[in-house]
Point group: C2
Chain length 428, copies 2
C-alpha cells in the first residue's frame, strides 16, 4: 500500500520543496501538451480506476477502519466511504472532463487596431495549482483531472483520514499520465499526513505554487486566510438566502423553498435563511413554513414570524450567520425587496441568493444591488453548481471576487496572454 513519508518537520520541508520543483518542471511540457495527449491521459485514468477497483476499495477499507477507531462522525464517514458505484462515478467524471472543450489556446477576444496590429487574447494554463481538501477521496480524481485538462500541474493535499484511498486513486492518475507520455509530476499527491505540509503549501513552495484552492470547513478556510502567501480561490461557507417577494406565486414559492432547503441539506448551495416579504405575511408565510416543517425542517424564526407561526424556535443573532448544512432554516420577515437586499448584504457570505417574484422591478433590484456570486430568479439555490451551469465538472464554488467567482471549472483554471500580429509596426 502507500509508502508514507515519515520524518521530522525539516524532512517535510525538504519533501515539499522537492514536490514544488517537480511541479514547476512539469509546467512547460503541460502548457504545450496537445488536447489529444491530455484526453488520452484522462481516458487511461478512467480505465485505470475501474481496473483497480479492488485495490482502491482495499485502501479505502483501511481508512474506514481507522476512521471508525478514531470515532469520526457519521457524515464524515459517509463522505469517506467508497463503493463500486462511487468508483464508477469517479471514472465517469474523468471521462466527462475528457469530453470538455480544451480551454488552452482558446481565443477569448480578438480585435484590430487602426495601425494594423491584430490582437488576440488567448487562454493559457495558470501554472501550478495546490488543492487542499478533506475527507472525500473522489476530490483526488476530480481535481487532478480538471487541473490537467486546463494544462496545469497540481499538488494535491488530501485529508489524512482518507490518505490511503487518495493514494490508490492517485496511482491510477499517474498510470494515465504515463500511458499518454505526459510528465508524471503533473499530478502529485503529498505523501505525508504531517500538517506542516499544509503550511509549506500556504507559503507557496518557494514560488512554485501559483494558486491554492482550499476545499474544507471553517478551520481550513481560516488557516488559509491567515497563512496563505499565494493567491487563493476563496471558498467560504454558503449562507444562501431565499427571498419570497409579495409578488411571488405562492405555489412556486412553496416548491422552491422546500427544494432550496431540503433537496440536499449538506451542500453549500442549500438555503440557510428564508426571508419573506411582510406584505404577504398573512397569505404566504404559513403555507411555506408548513411545507418546510412537513418536509422535516426545523424553523428558527424571528419574533414577527413566531406571531403568525408558533411551531418554531425563536431565532438568535447567530442564526443569521450560521451555515447549518442541516434540516434547519432561519426565517425572517422583511420590508419588501429593499429589506431583503439590506439583510442579505449584511449577513450573506456572497455565495448564492434567490428571489421568488413576478414583479420584474423587484427582480431587477435584487439582481443589481446584491453582490453575490450567483443570483437566481424563480429557481432553487441548489442550482449553484458547475454541472448545473453547464460547465462540466467543478472544483468548488469561489466566493472571492478575484479571477474566479462562482463555479470553478476548467475555464476558471486558466489565465490568458496576448498575441499581437504586425507587419513591421513601430510605435511613433
Amino acid at each position: 500500500m502507500l509508502k508514507l513519508h515519515e520524518g521530522s518537520a525539516a524532512d517535510t520541508g525538504q519533501l515539499m520543496a522537492a514536490i514544488g520543483r517537480k511541479a514547476r518542471a512539469a509546467v512547460r511540457p503541460l502548457a504545450i501538451a496537445s488536447t489529444a495527449a491530455k484526453n488520452a491521459a484522462l481516458s487511461a485514468m478512467a480505465d485505470a480506476i475501474l481496473r483497480n477497483e479492488k485495490e482502491i476499495l482495499e485502501a479505502n477499507a483501511i481508512d474506514v477502519a481507522n476512521g471508525e477507531e478514531a470515532g469520526l462522525s457519521p457524515s464524515f464517514m459517509d463522505r469517506l466511504k467508497l463503493n463500486p458505484a462511487r468508483i464508477g462515478a469517479m471514472s465517469d467524471g474523468i471521462r466527462e472532463i475528457a469530453a470538455l472543450k480544451d480551454p488552452v489556446g482558446d481565443v477569448i477576444a480578438e480585435w484590430d487596431r487602426p495601425n494594423g496590429l491584430n490582437i488576440e487574447r488567448v487562454r493559457t494554463p495558470l501554472g501550478v495549482i495546490g488543492v487542499i481538501y478533506e475527507s472525500r477521496p473522489n476530490v483526488t480524481a476530480d481535481a487532478g483531472a480538471l487541473c490537467l485538462k486546463a494544462g496545469n500541474a497540481v499538488v494535491l493535499r488530501g485529508g489524512s483520514d482518507s490518505i490511503n484511498s487518495s493514494a490508490a486513486i492517485h496511482a491510477c492518475l499517474v498510470e494515465g499520465l504515463k500511458a499518454a507520455g505526459l510528465p508524471e509530476d503533473a499530478i502529485q499527491l503529498v505523501p505525508t499526513t504531517d500538517r506542516a505540509a499544509v503550511g509549506e503549501m500556504l507559503k507557496g513552495l518557494s514560488g512554485n505554487l501559483d494558486v491554492i484552492i482550499p476545499r474544507g470547513g471553517r478551520s481550513l478556510v481560516e488557516r488559509v486566510q491567515t497563512e496563505a502567501r499565494v493567491p487563493v480561490f476563496a471558498h467560504l461557507e454558503g449562507i444562501c438566502h431565499l427571498y419570497i417577494d409579495k409578488s411571488a406565486d405562492l405555489a412556486m414559492a412553496v416548491k422552491i423553498a422546500v427544494n432550496a432547503k431540503m433537496r440536499r441539506t449538506g451542500i453549500c448551495g442549500a438555503a440557510e435563511t428564508l426571508l419573506i416579504d411582510r406584505a404577504v405575511a398573512s397569505t404566504h408565510l404559513v403555507p411555506v413554513l408548513e411545507a418546510l416543517r412537513d418536509a422535516g425542517c426545523e424553523l428558527h424564526a424571528d419574533a414577527d414570524v413566531l406571531k403568525a407561526f408558533s411551531d418554531a424556535t425563536p431565532a438568535t443573532d447567530a442564526d443569521w450567520v450560521t451555515e447549518y448544512l442541516d434540516a434547519i432554516i432561519a426565517v425572517k420577515l422583511v420590508d419588501g425587496v429593499g429589506g431583503a437586499i439590506e439583510h442579505i448584504e449584511t449577513f450573506s457570505s456572497h455565495h448564492t441568493e434567490a428571489i421568488v417574484a413576478e414583479d420584474a422591478a423587484a427582480v431587477e433590484r435584487f439582481f443589481n444591488e446584491i453582490d453575490s456570486a450567483i443570483l437566481l430568479h424563480n429557481a432553487s439555490t441548489q442550482f449553484a453548481d458547475g454541472g448545473e451551469f453547464g460547465m462540466g465538472a467543478e472544483i468548488g464554488i469561489a466566493t472571492g471576487k478575484m479571477h474566479a467567482r462562482g463555479p470553478v471549472g476548467v475555464e476558471q483554471l486558466t489565465s490568458f496572454k496576448y498575441r499581437v500580429r504586425g507587419n513591421g509596426q513601430v510605435r511613433p
Copy 2:
C-alpha cells in the same frame, strides 16, 4: 495647502482603519451608481483640474523644491514636475476615461440550459482597490478616475515626495465626486508620509481592501511580495526580449530593434535583451547592432556576438536579468527560435517579448511556447501599453497570471456575478 496627518504609528493605524471603513461604506452606492453619474463626476474632475491649475502648480512647486533640496535624481525630478501641458494632459486623460464604455453591468456571456434556466455572466466592480505608487503625481488622477469608472472605491497612497501635488489633484477629484452626488470617500488619498501606512494597506485594512496595485520600483515590489495579505496585481519589471529569427526581413529587424529599445528607454515595454538567430549572424547582426549604436545605445554582448562586432562591452550573467530602463541592451546569439524560447523562458519577467520573422512556424512556436503577458510578431515591444491596445487608460501592466494580465484597464478592474432566470425550476 494639504493638512498632513502627523502622529505616532498607532495614530497611523487608526487613520488607515478609518480610511478602510469609509472606503467600504462607499462600495454599495458606487456599485449601483449610474453611468451618467460616474461620467458627470469624471467630467467635473477634468474641469476642476483645469480650473485649479494654479493651485496644483503651487503645490507641485513645494514638492519640487523639497526634491531638489533632498537631491533626488534628474529622472525622478522629471517624473515629479508638472507644467500646464502635463496638467492639460491629466484633464484630457480623465475625459478619455469618461468616454470609455462603462464595464459594470456588461453581459460577458449568456447561455440557456436544457431545463430552461437562462444564465448571464455580468461584470461588477471589484470593491475597494488600493494603489501604491511613487513619484508621478498624475497617477493620482489616472488611478482615481479609472477605479471610479469601474465602480470601485479606491485608496491612493502616492509617494511622499509628491504628496503636495497629489493632494492638490485629489482635491479636484473630490470636487467632481461632490458635483455628481457620489460618495466623497470613493477616492481617498492617504494623508500621511508615514511608511507604516503602506504596511497597513498591505495588511488589507481589516478586510476593507480587496486588491492592491503596486506601481513602483523593485523595493516596493519586494515589500509587497513579502508583506501583502491581500491579492495583488503584480507589476514586476519588464525584462522584455526582441528575437530576430533567421527568416526576418533585415530592414524590418533594424527598424523594430531601434524602436523597441530607443523610442523611450524608461518604460517597462522597452526591450532589454536582443536575441539574434545564429544562422543569420553574418548578415543581420552587424546592421542591427550598428543601427542601435548609431542611435546612441550601449551594447552588452556575449562572446559570440563580440567576435562579429567588437564595439561592445562583454556581457556578464547579470545582463540577462537586468531591466536597464536606459540606452543599454544585452545582445546574444541563439540557436533558432528554440534557443530564443529557452533563453526567454529562463530569464524573462514574463512581461513582453517580440519576434521578427517571416517563417510562420517559428512565429507559432514563439507564440505557443513562451508564457509572457504579451507576445508580438513583427512589431515593437513598445506597443505593450493599454492605450495602444485600445483599452483606453491603464493603471499598469500586470505580470502575474491571476485575474489581470497585461494592461490593466477598466475591464480588468472588474469582477463578475451570475444572474440566473427561471420560471419555477427546482433541482431534481
